[in-house]
């Protein structure tokens, strides 16, 4: 048997119970409400189109051709950052599968002990120590996990997001660990673009009013210029303000969520345990840190198909059975479920697990050593090697 490497996408996003929409085979992940995002696109593209159509020819001739070139580069950068922010997975945490949910429940019950009937059980909190600071991890009843530090549940997208900053309707997505730097660069570059267009609109108007060159013809209509100036003026205040706010947050290594809740405001001697106490280091970590992988849009290399027969040793049949069992545990994983459905499914899976009736499938089917919920495609792809 020859070893054949099979590469395929694990389609986790198909089973995500949150309120997200996916496109392009899972590469694009956005929130459901996209109306404001389309408005953002319209404003940016519309204003820039007017600028390129009406101002740039004049300015290129009378001032410098570098002006539209730089504007175009800036515009492309803004669009790239916007699309990157909007389309990427912000760092959604996958919900706990039934076994994990049960495991956590049992740990909680053991920690709480016996609660007398009629009394409310204590809140589900886990304390961890981070850099000599006690941080409380809260339990998420929807995702059935203890949220990692800095994670929060977005009610709009119905997902827990790691390093949750905020849900931004203007980009149509949550802003979290994976796309925060793109969001920041988007606001920064949009500020620059707005200031740039605003400045050159004013220059254009001034040059039209007071022509300095004999090449200038009579005064032409500046109606569109006025429109652009208006859009830029109102955008300036909000976007530049937002950029300034996020620059402040980055220098302190805080998220908008933490800032709003006042988590590290200094009350009760609570300090931010994530800050390096150095502005440069904080900025570098947020902007130049590693690019975290998505738990959903991830391409894996599967094991070589022939390897199972080579690698198994003495108890070959047992190991083969272990490998084959990956597919049989699939029924334990719910596809789409509400939090209410999860409880009966946990009980059902608990009863189901000790007594599955599956036996060794024929040797031709060699499922991967991946988790149970990979697609049915896997086994079909594997069959091709025999």
């Amino acid at each position: 048997m020859s070893a054949v490497m099979i590469t395929r996408k694990v389609r986790k996003w198909e089973k995500l119970p949150g309120k997200n929409t996916f496109c392009c085979d899972g590469r694009v992940m956005m929130a459901r409400q996209k109306g404001v995002f389309y408005l953002t696109l319209f404003l940016i593209i519309g204003t820039c189109s007017l600028f390129f159509a009406f101002e740039c020819p004049y300015l290129a001739v009378h001032l410098s051709p570098a002006i539209p070139v730089f504007a175009a580069l800036l515009f492309l950068f803004v669009m790239a950052m916007l699309l990157r922010t909007s389309f990427s997975d912000p760092g959604v945490l996958p919900r706990a599968l039934p076994e994990e949910a049960t495991f956590i429940e049992m740990e909680i019950e053991a920690a709480n002990g016996n609660v007398p009937a009629g009394q409310r059980p204590p809140p589900r909190i886990r304390n961890v120590q981070i850099n000599n600071q006690i941080v409380k991890l809260k339990y998420c009843y929807t995702c059935k996990i203890f949220r990692p530090p800095r994670a929060s549940h977005c009610s709009i997208c119905d997902n827990c997001v790691d390093r949750f900053d905020h849900h931004c309707p203007w980009v149509g997505n949550c802003v979290g660990k994976r796309n925060y730097r793109y969001f920041y660069l988007f606001t920064l570059s949009l500020s620059l673009l707005t200031i740039y267009i605003f400045t050159f609109d004013i220059v254009h108007v001034v040059m039209r009013e007071y022509p300095v060159s004999h090449l200038c013809s009579q005064k032409e209509q500046t109606g569109f210029t006025v429109l652009e100036v208006l859009v830029c003026f109102f955008t300036l205040w909000s976007v530049v303000g937002l950029t300034g706010f996020h620059t402040y947050l980055i220098s302190l290594n805080q998220t908008t969520n933490e800032d709003i809740k006042g988590s590290w405001s200094g009350k009760n001697r609570v300090q931010n345990p994530y800050s390096h106490k150095n502005i440069i280091k904080n900025c570098c970590e947020v902007l130049c840190g590693p690019t975290y992988p998505s738990a959903f849009v991830y391409v894996k290399l599967l094991i070589p198909a022939g390897l199972s027969s080579v690698a198994l040793t003495a108890s070959a049949s047992f190991q083969h059975a272990v490998l084959c069992l990956q597919k049989t545990t699939a029924p334990l994983i719910p596809n789409e479920h509400t939090p209410d459905d999860a409880k009966p499914s946990i009980a059902a899976s608990a009863e189901k697990s000790p007594s599955p009736k599956e036996e060794l499938p024929p040797a031709s089917k060699l499922p991967p050593l991946a988790s149970p919920e990979t697609d049915a495609e896997t086994s079909i792809a594997k069959d091709k090697t025999h």
Binding site: P94, I130, L301, L312, F318, A350, S353, L360
Partner: protein
Amino acid sequence: MRHSASLANKVFIQRDYSEGTTCKFQTKFPSELESRIERTLFEDTVKTLNNYYAEAEKIGGQSYLEGCLACATAYLIFLCMETRYEKVLKKIAKYIQEQNEKIYAPRGLLITDPIERGMRVIEISIYEDRGSSGSSSGSSSVSGSTAR
């Protein structure tokens, strides 16, 4: 001869947040695995995984260079280039597969790559060989495992 294995239980190795939000898993040996695998083997696996993740998340000269270069190209370079993290994840996947084949599968255990669980836990599935007679370890249902 036909044998079959059934899933008896699952153990979840939690994250260790003592050094911050960098990806690190606890090396505490779970009681459910006591009869299944030697402590040192388990600890070695988790420590190696922790080292891999530390390597992926290291913030230093190379990550700055990668970040600045990517920013200069409006992150379009990632359409053709693999990020450092992705390279390390591939190494991790290979390592886990190797560990499963050499160490864990012969003992009726299976490690799931943490990326599949959003880097929250390392899931270790405990299988029971139904083909062998008289096996009683882990034969109870999921609800039977004792919490700590």
